[in-house]
Symmetry: C2
Subunit: 91 residues, 2 copies
DNA sequence: TTTCTATATGCAAATACTGCATACCCAATT
DNA sequence: AATTGGGTATGCAGTATTTGCATATAGAAA
């Protein structure tokens, strides 16, 4: 399922036009992103938690040449599903 | 940041009451969940992809007792941030 | 049409995972 | 507004799993 199909579903569920649904959806993702930039975690009870995780620098490898490469430290967004979410998919 | 605080932000950005913002937000998370139950991935360009990942059964260990444990196969929801999302947090 | 994303490759190192108790913070109800 | 019940984080040990590097291509999405 891609974004367009999701928007169609949302449009029905929210009783909004597709354009409005998309605007709403984008606003929400942007708000979450902004929150993550300031704070470093966004907790949504019953769904999950978005966190910015720091990843240490380490030694990697160019899979094409096999040559070793130093990989810089970085940050990535992680999503930790809530308990309710795990249960939904394990019944 | 927790859900309540996020709702307040959304309320401002969407120009909706807090109650409506929360309803909208819950509708979206539920729609994503439903999509994940049917399909097994939801791709949102520019944000990320939610996937249901199957995890094989394996042998684990109770860290308290050291005793070996058989861990059943399970499924969990994974979120893979899009490229744009990684870049935001690595500048 | 033009941008975005998945895939595939080998391999080292980081990190997730498990049970469980405690502490904590949040959400909802009164 | 306050209390309470429930969801969530933390720490632990050791193994399993994931990650992420470069890069081109194919396929899908905007």
């Amino acid at each position: 399922m891609n974004k367009k199909q999701l928007i169609v579903k949302l449009s029905g569920a929210l009783n909004l036009s597709k354009a409005d649904s998309e605007r709403t959806f984008d606003t929400i993702t942007n708000t979450i992103l902004d929150a993550l930039k300031g704070d470093d975690s966004v907790k949504i009870a019953g769904f999950g938690t978005y966190k910015v995780a720091k990843r240490k620098a380490r030694v990697g490898r160019n899979p094409r040449t096999g040559e070793q490469i130093q990989i810089a430290a970085s940050q990535k967004v992680k999503f930790l599903p809530a308990k309710a979410l795990k249960e939904v998919f394990n019944k």
